[in-house]
């Protein structure tokens, strides 16, 4: 299972400014009884987007502009909470390829990369600019590790470890890499009697 390669993209942003958006908000637990990873996008942020009777609210994620967007900007500490990979599955199925925040929870970050979703932690000033300019056309360049804001918003570097960048850019997955280490793993097991 490999992901579509990601190098550069320019997209209108969707901004969800709330801090500490947890994975229970991204995909509520009652949608986790699935046994496949497809089709979760319609439940992304389910309880924000649908009323109790199942009708769509006027939340911007229900709008056409959001559905065409590839960049989600979230408030500080995005993706905290449960380790459910259903969260990045729901976001990528919805259409996002990039999540930007001033802090992104560890497990979410690691899950995102494995599913072709680039998590970008950006400095506070640039983050604030993004929060203040929802719908801005923002360019993300994974090769140069830069986010370019429109007008005089400026250009900001972000960190991503080389290995994650490699996997995202090539669209390869980590299992192939791990599988390549099979003899090192066997040696280890033998050496330690495991």
């Amino acid at each position: 299972m490999s992901n579509a390669p990601l190098t550069t993209l320019t997209s209108r942003t969707v901004v969800l400014p709330a801090e500490n958006i947890d994975t229970d908000q991204i995909i509520p637990a009652r949608f986790l009884t699935v046994t496949s990873r497809d089709g979760l996008g319609k439940h992304a942020f389910n309880d924000w987007r649908y009323a109790e009777d199942g009708s769509e609210t006027d939340h911007e994620l229900n709008g056409e502009a959001a559905k065409a967007s590839q960049i989600l900007v979230g408030g500080h500490n995005f993706g905290c909470g449960s380790s459910r990979e259903h969260a990045p599955w729901a976001l990528t199925d919805y259409g996002f390829r990039v999540v930007i925040s001033s802090e992104i929870a560890d497990i979410f970050r690691s899950n995102a990369v494995k599913n072709g979703l680039l998590p970008i932690v950006i400095e506070k000033g640039a983050h604030q600019w993004l929060l203040d300019h929802p719908g801005a056309d923002v360019a993300v360049d994974l090769i140069r590790r830069e986010v370019r804001l429109p007008g005089n918003g400026g250009t900001y570097r972000f960190d991503v470890d080389d290995f994650s960048a490699h996997c995202l850019i090539e669209g390869v997955d980590e299992l192939g890499y791990l599988d390549g280490q099979v003899s090192a793993i066997s040696d280890y097991e033998e050496r330690l009697g495991k």
Binding site: D24, T33, V34, T35, G75, C80, I107, K114
Partner: protein
């Protein structure tokens, strides 16, 4: 003193590196124990099937069903699933593990339980191990002096196929509690106070080590409660050095090492060396901790039950208070309660059942409150029933259910209605976690039981007066 003093975390990490970390690649880390359950494994088994790969080490894999499983049965003893999809998910796990020869504790097992309650009970969780599970509260197992952390489903696939994970080493943080706890303060209060202190993002990027006499004097159940919620401070794992309490707990369990004394000799080396450095140290005074309750929509929004709810620091806090229908300056004590949930991998061990029963004994749950007590495993249930705890609990008007995650994650049908206030012994109070619109207050089993009796949030001390 060792020539190159190491932290406990470093020692365990170093012993599990198959291929070291470099700029271009994370470390390949060997995993000793892989726990699996029905929710985060089906898509991983699909990957294995697609690639025609076996489970590399079924003997290092252990499965249970807990998240989607109902806590009620029909007259014939058949589980009452919330819907067909939940039933299919459980059936999928059982079929996958049968196909790959993985030890599985399904409906017919006396050991089935919430995965983080079951692993230690079986003695599968041991000091010095690396332990993973597709569930963020895997940090629980750190109570035994293990590196234990939650992983996503893709990584579940990695571990099934290779028994390894790709990971960069986190930084280390010591949480040092000095002084003594005052009477009536429980391990749950301790961890809620720690999270309130360092914040829900405070541990991000770190492995925590809990240090000091408070933890040394704590039972294994208490240590598990503390380590369980490390993730709520943003840390993927939290650990406590193993000691006699740990070894006593593990002696004689089904998965404990055959040559137990030899194992203990090895385990004794698992401490942080004197002079080892942590990347960060947080010091707190145990004597200042009081029985805690959360007042907002993340576990860091916690305060002593009788203390005024702090002024919101920002818009997010304001939203949280309005969701919870409380205002700054009020106390959580006195808030009307609709439901009480005593259960979850944070607080559903025998000790927790005893604590709850002790408060409920001879008292009656307020008529306006629906209280359910859900033991963490079949073993906890059996042990509690052997002591007659279930009779005490039911006599008070609370319900005694089958083991499972239940209202902790509310995906099996056990949930609160919109607007209802739940005092819950679980670990997450996110908006809607216990059902859309439900308001969750996290607290200890003692506080939850006392609140069930009073019909309002109260500490045990508040109940007595």
């Amino acid at each position: 003193m060792a020539s190159n003093p190491l932290t406990l975390f470093d020692k365990i990490w170093d012993a599990h590196v198959v291929t070291p970390e470099a700029a271009a690649n994370p470390a390949t880390l060997y995993i000793d124990l892989h726990l699996i359950h029905e929710v985060t494994s089906p898509q991983a088994f699909t990957v294995l099937r697609d690639r025609n790969l076996p489970v590399r080490r079924p003997d290092r894999t252990l499965a249970t069903i807990d998240h989607s499983t109902p806590t009620l049965k029909d007259e014939d003893g058949a589980p009452l699933y919330v819907n067909a999809q939940a039933k299919t998910q459980v059936a999928t796990l059982l079929a996958n593990t049968a196909e790959h020869g993985v030890e599985t504790h399904g409906w017919d097992s006396d050991n089935r339980g919430v995965v983080h309650v079951m692993g230690p009970e079986l003695g599968a969780t041991q000091p010095g191990m690396t332990i993973v599970c597709g569930d963020s509260h895997t940090s629980t197992h750190g109570a035994f002096g293990a590196i234990a952390f939650g992983i996503g489903t893709t990584q579940v696939g990695h571990v099934l196929a290779t028994q390894c994970l790709l990971m960069r080493k986190p930084k280390t943080m010591a949480i040092e509690l000095t002084g003594e706890l005052v009477d009536g303060v429980t391990p749950k209060d301790v961890i809620l106070a720690i999270i309130a202190e360092i914040g829900v993002g405070g541990g991000t990027g770190y492995a925590l080590e809990y240090r000091g006499t408070v933890f040394e004097e704590m039972s294994m159940a208490g240590r598990m409660t503390v380590c369980n919620m490390s993730i709520e401070a943003g840390a993927r794992c939290g650990l406590i050095a193993p000691d006699e309490t740990t070894f006593d707990f593990l002696r004689g369990r089904p998965h404990s090492p055959e040559d137990f004394d030899a194992a203990v000799d090895q385990w004794r080396k698992l401490t942080t060396d004197e002079g080892a450095t942590f990347d960060k140290i947080v010091r707190m005074d145990a004597a200042t901790i009081r029985p805690m309750a959360t007042y907002g929509t993340h576990p860091g929004m916690a305060a002593p039950i009788d203390a005024p709810i702090p002024n919101p620091a920002n818009e997010a806090d304001e939203k949280a208070l309005s969701y919870m229908q409380v205002t700054a300056g009020q106390t959580m004590a006195g808030q009307r309660v609709d439901r009480v949930f005593i259960g979850s991998c944070t607080n559903a061990r025998l000790e927790d059942m005893r604590a709850a029963a002790n408060i409920l004994s001879g008292r009656t749950v307020a008529t306006s409150v629906r209280a359910i007590v859900v033991p963490g495993s079949e073993s906890v249930k059996a042990a509690a029933e052997a002591e007659g705890l279930h009779e005490i609990i039911m006599a008070s008007g609370a319900e005694w259910r089958e083991p499972g995650c239940s209202m902790c994650i509310a995906m099996n049908g056990d949930k609160a209605a919109p607007g209802e206030l739940v005092v819950s012994t679980s670990n997450r109070n996110f908006a809607g976690r216990q059902g859309p619109g439900a308001r969750t207050v996290l607290a200890s089993p003692e506080t939850a039981a006392a609140s069930a009796i009073a019909g309002v949030v109260t500490s045990v001390a508040g109940l007595a007066s």
